[in-house]
Point group: C2
Chain length 369, copies 2
DNA sequence: TTGTACGCGTTATCAA
DNA sequence: TTGATAACGCGTACAA
């Protein structure tokens, strides 16, 4: 494994120049830069993590916090993919990870870790409004980015999130197109920004169509709670003809409620949800969802955090485009383009072609705050 | 944050001595050691990760590999807890981690990472027999420990695992006690050591009781496959009166098959499984399981890996005691000790008192290989 | 636009 | 049983 010194020698420059080629902290002549990069590439050079950390005072470690553990973690299955995105981007930049356990009061000596500066920055997934970690980190001036949600307690925490509002707007248009007249929203009581986003958007979209706004909030994201709330909704005199659930696990509960009441999906009841996980793809019928891209989310979050850490860049939020994946659970109008041979709606419909495995379209930008 | 030099000065010794107090690489007089530790504690000193890495040539980073992704990851929900254990133990020792993605062929430049020595060691969860990563790591002489399973392709890979054989033996005794006469085993075709363990133990235990050995293997760990296999089993002329599933998700499928055939659980059919996750606890009725302790598993795996990395210790395997958690799905003989007020079998029975949150009993040892 | 030289905090070698 | 000192690889203040 080559060191900066070998690269400098081979390229006929000083290590300072090599350093600056990589850090971009001062201008380097184009020719010199090219030469250095060529040599570095040939020698397979990459800056040594520990050496960099020692020189800069950084630990080259990012803290990771998922504010849920055990069961709830399973209820929100986009976690593993998010983690892969985070890890890939961190590795790319020469950083490693540590987990900050969900229960801060556990044996993990968080305050000590902070005082020791054991992480250069922290990424928090799906922050809740009552998070105790966020204020603590703010107080210690630890660089911080939330991913998959915004911290509602303070506008100054930079975030990366999916465009849930745009996604739900697409979904509502789709429902209208499919002839659904009285959609209801099944949200949750968790203090997360996602719930606020979809509730506000739902209300706006329904009002825009002159409809009546029906929103119920389950205690948690479980299938059980969703089942109960859905039963209640569907037993009303003027029952909804479509239910939008926040999380696809909830939609599974709604589906069960429909079966219990002998309602046919999608004919008597349309069902859609957010979070395009295995649950949505493998249910019967498969569920229309708003796709989230946890892997991309993770990558973008790490890059944002590192620009703040390494460049002291001003906090800037990122919003990723949403994508509707229509499936059988809401498709009751025959599309002329829907050809026969596709395996029973397991694949996304023609309105949302399956994208390749790549990171997809680049993130857009939103104004801070 | 104090450095080694301050500690040395305060304690009136050289930094060399302080270093050795912490690394334990050479003997230090008891009095000296005590003094150094006292000062270090007072100054809140901890060795600096990057500095250590620079001096030793280590990266202070552990690679983590879960050989499944997306859906299968959700099917095996002990993942998050394992991760927490791994992270906690790594943090304790001053290490961070990076994920090695499940699909090695993806953009992650693994070979390069190995050549650069980007990790000091790797932990692989649930290795399959056809793993391509394990041979690659062995070739590169990267220290390696498998957790939650053994690599069947080579005996020289050290492992940490639950005592599945002991656990299943307990379970079989429990089934006998509950009057089940014809248990069947629902295993999987995955090339994992767990499947081999339970199949061999099941066979042995059934034979010891003079029974007939019935084992079926599902293609994967899904509920669907388990449902199908269970239906087939239960439609046989001499159907089993108990089904032991490898994974509790499979047991959920078996439960559904029982409902489909109007078999009462536990009366007509006993159902038990391995992996005490939320699925087992929340099903109806709750499932008897062999509890695994992913968090402890993770901690032990990291410690084992680090002794190999830091001390070049000989590989030594660790086996964690198994624990049976009897629940309603197999309890058809009234236990005189089972008092009334407990909430419908949601808690473990009296034969397996709920242990505290601590790491539990220390790991036992097994001979290598 | 580029280079020199020092420091970051620790471990390892050698000496006492 | 302990200490002095030279690496480890990089970033950067200062100099040219």
């Amino acid at each position: 494994m080559a060191s900066i010194e070998e690269v400098a020698r081979e390229a006929g420059v000083s290590i300072t120049t090599v350093s600056h080629v990589f850090s971009e902290k001062r201008p380097v002549a184009v020719a010199t830069r090219r030469r250095v990069l060529a040599v570095a590439d040939r020698l397979n050079y990459r800056p040594h993590r520990a050496a960099r950390g020692l020189a800069t005072g950084r630990t080259m470690t990012i803290g990771l916090h998922f504010p849920f553990e055990g069961d709830p973690l399973l209820l929100n299955p986009f976690f593993p993919e998010l983690l892969e995105g985070l890890s890939a981007a961190a590795a790319e930049a020469g950083y490693g990870f540590l987990l900050i356990p969900a229960s801060l009061e556990a044996k993990f000596p968080l305050r000590q870790a902070l005082n020791e500066g054991r992480f250069d920055g922290v990424i928090i997934a799906d922050p809740t409004e009552d998070s105790t970690l966020v204020p603590l980190l703010l107080r210690h001036r630890v660089p911080l980015v939330t991913a998959g949600g915004r911290y509602l307690g303070s506008p100054q925490v930079p975030w990366v999130d999916n465009d849930h509002r745009g996604g739900l707007a697409q979904l509502m248009a789709h429902l209208e197109e499919q002839g659904y007249k009285r959609p209801a929203l099944l949200s949750t009581k968790d203090g997360i920004s996602y719930a606020r986003d979809i509730e506000e958007t739902f209300e706006k979209e329904v009002r825009a169509r002159g409809g009546e706004v029906t929103i119920v909030r389950a205690d948690d994201q479980s299938e059980e709670q969703a089942f109960r709330e859905a039963l209640r909704l569907l037993n009303q005199p003027r029952r909804p003809d479509a239910i939008v659930a926040g999380i696809d696990r909830q939609a599974v509960g709604v589906l069960r409620a429909a079966r219990t009441l002998s309602l046919r999906v999608p004919r008597d009841l349309g069902i859609a949800s957010g979070g395009d996980t295995v649950l949505a793809r493998h249910s019967h019928p498969p569920l229309t969802t708003m796709r989230q891209r946890p892997r991309v989310l993770g990558e973008v979050a790490v890059r944002l955090l590192l620009t703040i850490v390494e460049r002291s860049a001003p906090p800037e939020n990122r919003i990723l485009p949403a994508e509707l994946v229509p499936r059988a659970s809401t498709r009751r109008v025959r599309s002329p383009r829907a050809k026969a041979r596709r395996p029973a709606d397991a694949a996304p419909g023609p309105q949302a072609p399956q994208p390749g495995p790549g990171p997809g379209p680049g993130p857009g930008r939103a104004s801070p705050g």
